[in-house]
């Protein structure tokens, strides 16, 4: 069995990047969220957030809908089933790693 710190390398970096992780985590608790909310949550500028969302959309994790609310353009982002599975698995993996790291002793690494 590999050591917990080695397991870190197996984390999906597409999901684990902090901004994308925050976006996916928030979306996992909502039907959908708009661009302003996600921008506020991540603190990113529009261009950078758009870039992150595009990557998630390309990976099939989110669905982006552009619409008008009255005269104001609104971008709604919704998690897909694949995205939901990915974020759930990712947090399970993180929690498992956290637990493993807590119980890890340096002696165990010696042959």
């Amino acid at each position: 069995m590999s050591q917990p710190f080695e397991e870190l390398a197996s984390l999906d970096k597409l999901v684990h990047e902090p901004a994308r992780l925050a976006v996916l985590t928030a979306l996992s608790a909502a039907g959908s969220a708009d661009f302003v909310f996600l921008q506020r949550l991540t603190g990113l500028n529009k261009g950078t957030l758009s870039s992150h969302l595009s990557k998630l959309e390309e990976a099939g994790m989110v669905q982006i809908t552009k619409q008008f609310r009255g005269k104001t353009p609104n971008t709604a982002v919704q998690l897909t089933n694949a995205g939901q599975t990915a974020i759930d698995q990712h947090w399970q993996q993180i929690n498992a790693l956290h637990e493993a790291a807590r119980h890890w002793r340096p002696d165990e690494t010696k042959p």
Binding site: P18, A19, A29, A30, A33, V36, F37, R40, T42
Partner: protein, 205 residues
């Protein structure tokens, strides 16, 4: 701080109850209760016309607050499951709280003390039990549940002596304070949760 499991749980919790955490929308109602109660307590007069005008003015205030939240924090659509759960909770709260308060009022024959206990208790509940998380829906429904109860009591006991007791004004003050504190705390939870996640270098992990 990075997005650790604890922060993530907080983000999920607040996102799923996003509208409920918009506490400032309840502040106008709280101020109305507070101002009305204090005015009547200090002057002994009941400013009915002023009350109607202020109520009308304050009916617009939540809409302004709603626009503020949409501009500053964006908007979140709850999941269908969450929406259904909130409706079920609202109906359950409506029935339970309405019956409880109604029963207490009937037994004690005193509306004001019951309202004071309910108002202050709701504040304490929100502060301690729910750890400052929003209970806007249950508490709103609890207040709404008072209306049919009071209406029924007015029909059953037309003398209304117990409804018009002086303590009722203190009930309005207590209710105002409880709603005000709850609203501000919910707003603080929202602003502290929906704040930028600090950047870390993923390659360092």
């Amino acid at each position: 701080m990075d997005l650790d499991a604890r922060r993530a749980a907080r983000v999920r919790y607040v996102t799923s109850r996003f509208t409920a955490f918009q506490g400032l929308t309840r502040v106008p109602l709280a101020l109305l209760c507070l101002a009305y109660g204090l005015y009547v307590v200090t002057t002994g007069e009941t400013p009915l016309v002023a009350l109607v005008l202020v109520t009308l003015a304050l009916a617009v205030a939540p809409m302004a607050m709603d626009r503020y939240y949409k501009r500053a924090f964006g908007s979140v659509t709850p999941t269908p499951t969450r929406l259904l759960w909130e409706v079920v909770t609202a109906v359950a709260n409506f029935a339970v709280v309405g019956l409880m308060i109604g029963a207490m009022v009937l037994v004690l024959r005193a509306l004001a003390p019951v309202l004071i206990v309910a108002g202050v208790g709701m504040g304490i509940w929100q502060l301690l039990v729910w750890r400052r998380h929003a209970v806007v829906l249950p508490s709103s429904v609890a207040f709404a549940a008072l209306l049919p109860v009071v209406g029924l009591l007015l029909l059953l006991f037309p003398d209304r002596q117990w409804v018009e007791s002086g303590a009722g004004n203190w009930a309005a003050v207590a209710t105002g304070v409880a709603v005000l504190i709850g609203g501000v705390l919910d707003h603080l939870v929202l602003t502290r949760t929906v704040r930028p996640i600090e950047r870390v270098d993923v390659s360092a992990l």
